[in-house]
Each structure stands twice: as structure tokens, then as C-alpha cells.
Symmetry: C2
Subunit: 337 residues, 2 copies
DNA sequence: TATGTTAAAGTTATCGATAACATTAACTGC
DNA sequence: GCAGTTAATGTTATCGATAACTTTAACATA
């Protein structure tokens, strides 16, 4: 690899002069600047950012950790983060934890050893606290995305899970449903807890009894317990509608229902959190609480870079972005049946 | 940040001894090993990989560049690449070119300056040749994914675009369609050219005349020319079926048709390349040529690491992975109407 | 006892860049 | 004509790690 010294020798100057040309600082005569630039071109020189980072104590890399790269919510978020990072001169080191604490820990180790300038972190759940403390102990600027973690103070960009959930459930109530099941993510995740609360609140406000049996504890990646859906359906008073806590769970539920010969919304209404990307473009079918995924990423990145560059105040900032209720056709009026 | 010297001082040994403990090489007495390890724990030491990379001339980072992070084909590919990289001890530096040569060039500059060990590259198109040559000039191990680039010799993992296209078009022909439109990606991209050829071959083999007017040149991201679909429909003999060269184009076409009050497959059959992830899980609707996206990533990564670690032969390897025709309901028999 | 061997360390130079300080030469002003 | 200024460039030390070589001390062997 060509180094600054190769350039220096060929251009008959010192390495420092080359460095000055590269960084465009210090005083340099136009003549030598030209000469050095030309040699750099000739030899195809590219600076070694490892060496540079070592002395500058700055990598200009930001790490983005998400929990599911195949989920449109996170890919849209990632694009928001990436666009903003690029615009502000940072590179993205990308990771995908698969909602898995062990994988997540590996990424945190890598993040630390890479000495990234900051981290945008969508945590897998409350169990992420240990890794996050690790990051904070090393004073790495951190912005939490999508999920809070008890015990971790930091800038946070959240969606309004409680209100979103309430909106969805109230929509179902307005359609006449009284037996509404909740297929939730793990209670280990703040959004799942908030959606659970929103669900309860909507029921309470409308004088519908909360029935523990209608609540299914799954994970955001899949329903896991295959038989759980069966149990729901075989309840003495089975649900007439399902509120799925995210897009994957809704799709999983619909597939499960279909396998049993049940159609949505004719036999069961289904609504969920998060839109579905291409799927919704193709079939505007699922009624959802759509979150501004792109903004999660772009705002989070903005905040993070503010902090990295010392433009943020001391105390953590927190924002709760509203979601938008998009009514489509997966939930039908109970009376119409 | 804690360095090896901080550890050394506190443990009363030299930095070299600490390095030996970290890398588990050289001879060390069990006693000092324990002592050093304990101090490392206490101080929360994490090695600085910039410093390490500088002397080892190895980063253990692999760069993955894709063209569209919101496309399920690429996210599935990315997961394949990531899983394999992780398994073999490499980190992923991730980039998203948005089918844009300028963005792509920026990423290549970053890749070079980061001194990554290798690059998995899904090029935006033929115009990527310049950047790719740049990479090759610097002898960075490279595996091309999904698309070939004229003039670039390297390991390549491709899908069988020609055969896949032929299969889709033959399926339409079997359904009785004779006027089949092609909405293609840019001819600047090898897969678009191959799909075009497959389309022509299928027509020729079945004695259907090739009509240039039925071929629409778009980009893989969207149809771009809004009026183009109108022109197709207003042809003296309009198409009865559309072959879209990828999933996004199919969805775009269907949305366009719907805006004009036309339904798929009743008023128009539509088939396309690449499956749609969640969308297909939710509504198994589009008839597609599904590519083994995960394998693109995992095999490509495997090959790349083989090459990085000197296990690959000199001459480039190339594989063409078959796609699978998945017949669903977006294409209907012409007679049935 | 002198020499050789080996385990367990330590020293020094290096990777490629930049900060901080030092030098040179031309020019300014009195 | 000489001190003072300044533009342009050079030298040296440094970032944090490791390779290659060196040293030390304990022990074995003839």
C-alpha cells in the first residue's frame, strides 16, 4: 500500500507537507500543493484511516445496531440513519442482533474495540442493560432507538406505543369487537409493555373486561408457541379480533389462521403495529399503526452526531414520535358478519 | 481509554507480556497470566483495533455494499453474508448505494481508507467498473454479487436471470398470453440484459413476435416514467400480461394499473423476478422467479474469506444459482376471462 | 565448575498518520 | 544593513499495539 512517505519521497517533500496537502491546512505554496497532488493521483494514494484514527482519537464511524434486518421498520430506519450519517460525514458500521442478547454482546465488544465515535442502538430488550452500561462506562455517545431500557439514561427516540396501541384497539372496539386478543412481543421489551398498557387502557375506557387469557406472550420475530393460537380459538368465548404487537406477528397470526381455514377479516379481524413496506404497497390490506421509521433513524443520528460533536446539552433528550393509524381492510365491523 | 500500558503498569509487567496474554501466545507463567487477566477485567480493557490493524495489516472487517436496503432480496442476502462473516470471525461494514454511482464511489473511497480485508459488492451497474478497478488496483479481495460488470474479472455469485426470465415468460405463454410486456431494469445492469434475453428467447421458442413497443426501460427502483404504463395500455394491441424484471417494478406496475381501475390478474397478469418477503407471506399472490438470496450472501462471503485467507485458486470462480418459479395467483389464464 | 538449554519475561523498532515545535529563507521596515 | 516577521517546510514524538530480538534466571548436563 502506498503511504504518505512514498508520496513524500516522490514529490521531494517531507511527509508532513503531504499531510498538510491532504488535510488542506497549514501554509503550502501552490506549486508544491500541485506537485504533491499530482503524485498522489499517480500513485493512487488513499489515506490509511486506521493510522489516522489512532492519532486523532476519532474514527468518523458510527455503529448502528438493529434487531432485525429483514423487518421493513428497521430497514427504513436504517436508511434514515444512513442518509443522515452520510450527509454529516460519518460512515456506518452496521450490525444485526436478531433480537439475541449474545449476538448483541458480540457487537458491543466489536463496537468498543473499533473505537467508533458513537452508537445508534435499537436494543433487544431489558437484558441489553449490561451491554449498554459497558458502552456508557467507556463514555461512548449513545442514542437508544425504538426501545427504552430500565436503568439506562441516554438520548432516546421512541414511538408512542401506548397511544398507538390504544388507537388500534379503539378502532376494533368501534367496529363492535369485545373479545380482542393481544399477541404481544416479549414483556422484556419496553414497547411490548407499553402496547400492553395501551391495550388495557382502551378496554378499560370502554368498559370491556380485561381477560388475561386473551393475551399471548410471544416474541417480535415470531409467535413461537404454535399451539397458542389454537388455545385462543378454543376459548369458551374466543376472540373476534387480534391486535398483533408488530407486523411479523400479524403476518404470523394470519398465516396461522389461514392454515385453519379462517379468513381475515371475515372470520377474524387483525390489526398491528408497524407498516409492512412492499406488502402494504402491493396489498393495502392490514390496518396498522404506522411509525415514522425513517425519522427514527434520521433524528436519532442527528442527535447522536450533535452529542459526538459537543453540541448537545448534558441531560439526555427524549422524544416520543406519534404513530399514524392507517385503516385498511383487515379489520371489519362485527355487525356485518 | 485504557491501553495495554495501563494494564502493564498496574500488573507490574511489560506491555509485551500483556499483549501475549491477550493473544494467548508466547510463554507466560500461569501466575502472571492470571494477574494480567484480572487487571484487564478490573479496568475494563478493550483492545484498540485501529492500533492492532495498523501493525497487523489486517482489519478483520469485510465491507458489504448493496444497492437497496429496503429490498427484501438484498436484506436476505445481507443476512446470509452477515451470518457467515460472524461465524468466520469477521465484522461487517455495511453500505447502501441506492443504485447510485456517486454514492457507490464514496463507499469505495471509504472502503479503501478503512483498509478492509475484502469486499462483497453488489454493483449498481456497468458504471461501477471504474470503482471496481480502483479496488482491484489496490488488490483488495473482491466478490461480485448478483450482477456482472464488463471488464471486471473476479469471483462472482449470480442468479440465472436468463433462465428465470424464460421460465416466467413461458409460464405466461402457457396461460395463453401472446402480448407480454417487459418492464425492465436499466440496460446498464447485467441482470436486466439477461432478463431481456430470456424474455426474447421464450418468445422466439414459441413463435411469438418480439415487439420493441412492449419493452419498457425503467430502473430497478421504480418505473420512473409515469406515462410509460399509459402508453403500453394505449397500444393498438395492448399487452395482456406484464413481466416485471424485479419485485419493486411489479409492485409499481400493479399500483399503476390499480390507479387506472385495472385489477390483477383479471385485467392484467403480472409476474416478476425476486420474491417479496413479508408481502408474499401475507398474501401469496405474485407469481415470481425466487432467487436464493440468503445463499448469494453466504456463499459469496464464504468465497471472499477463502480468498482473503489464501485458500482460493488464482482464477476467479463463478457460480450461477438457479431461481425457483413460484406460481401463485397474479397471472391467470387468458382463456378464462 | 563451566556451558548449554529453556522458560519467562523485557526492549526496541515499526505500522501510517498528525501535533507541536524547529528551521530556513525571503521579505519588511527603519 | 540588520533585527523582526512570516511563509513554507522539516524534525521529532506520539497514538496503541505487535514482531523480532534480547535479557535474565533457573536448572540440566558433562
Amino acid at each position: 500500500m502506498i503511504t504518505i512517505y512514498d508520496i513524500a519521497k516522490k514529490a521531494n517533500v517531507s511527509a508532513m507537507t503531504v499531510s498538510r496537502v491532504i488535510n488542506n491546512n497549514g501554509k503550502i505554496s501552490e506549486l508544491t500543493r500541485q506537485r504533491v497532488k499530482q503524485v498522489m493521483e499517480e500513485l493512487n494514494y488513499v489515506p490509511n484511516s486506521n493510522a489516522r484514527s489512532l492519532v486523532l482519537q476519532k474514527t468518523h464511524i458510527i455503529s448502528l445496531l438493529i434487531t432485525d434486518i429483514t423487518n421493513p421498520f428497521y430497514t427504513t430506519l436504517a436508511r434514515g440513519a444512513e442518509d443522515t450519517a452520510k450527509r454529516l460525514g460519518y460512515k456506518l458500521l452496521f450490525g444485526n442482533s436478531d433480537e439475541n442478547y449474545a449476538k448483541e454482546k458480540d457487537y458491543v465488544d466489536m463496537i468498543l474495540s473499533t473505537r467508533v465515535d458513537g452508537v445508534l442502538f435499537a436494543p433487544a430488550g431489558d437484558g441489553s442493560a449490561a451491554h449498554l452500561q459497558q458502552l456508557q462506562k467507556h463514555r461512548i455517545p449513545l442514542v437508544l432507538l425504538d426501545r427504552e431500557v430500565p436503568g439506562i439514561q441516554s438520548d432516546t427516540v421512541l414511538g408512542d406505543s401506548k397511544e398507538g396501541a390504544r388507537g388500534l384497539v379503539e378502532h376494533l372496539l368501534e367496529l363492535g369487537h369485545r373479545r380482542i386478543a393481544l399477541i404481544n412481543g416479549s414483556e422484556d421489551v419496553s414497547t411490548a409493555r407499553q402496547r400492553h398498557i395501551g391495550y388495557k387502557e382502551a378496554l378499560k375506557l370502554n368498559d370491556v373486561a380485561y381477560d388475561e387469557e386473551l393475551v399471548l406472550h410471544a416474541s417480535y420475530r415470531d409467535i413461537q408457541d404454535e399451539a397458542a393460537l389454537d388455545r385462543l380459538l378454543q376459548l369458551p368465548e374466543p376472540p373476534t379480533a387480534i391486535f398483533a404487537a408488530n407486523n411479523f406477528l400479524a403476518v404470523g397470526a394470519i398465516q396461522g389462521l389461514r392454515a385453519k381455514g379462517l379468513e381475515v377479516p371475515d372470520d377474524m379481524s387483525v390489526v398491528c403495529f408497524d407498516d409492512l413496506g412492499l406488502a402494504s404497497a402491493l396489498h393495502p390490506f392490514l390496518t396498522v399503526a404506522a411509525q415514522p421509521a425513517y425519522q427514527f433513524g434520521s433524528l436519532g443520528m442527528q442527535w447522536l452526531i450533535d452529542r459526538i460533536e459537543g453540541r448537545a446539552q448534558e441531560e439526555p433528550r427524549k422524544i416520543i414520535l406519534p404513530s399514524e393509524l392507517i385503516i385498511r381492510s383487515s379489520a371489519a365491523s362485527l355487525g356485518v358478519r
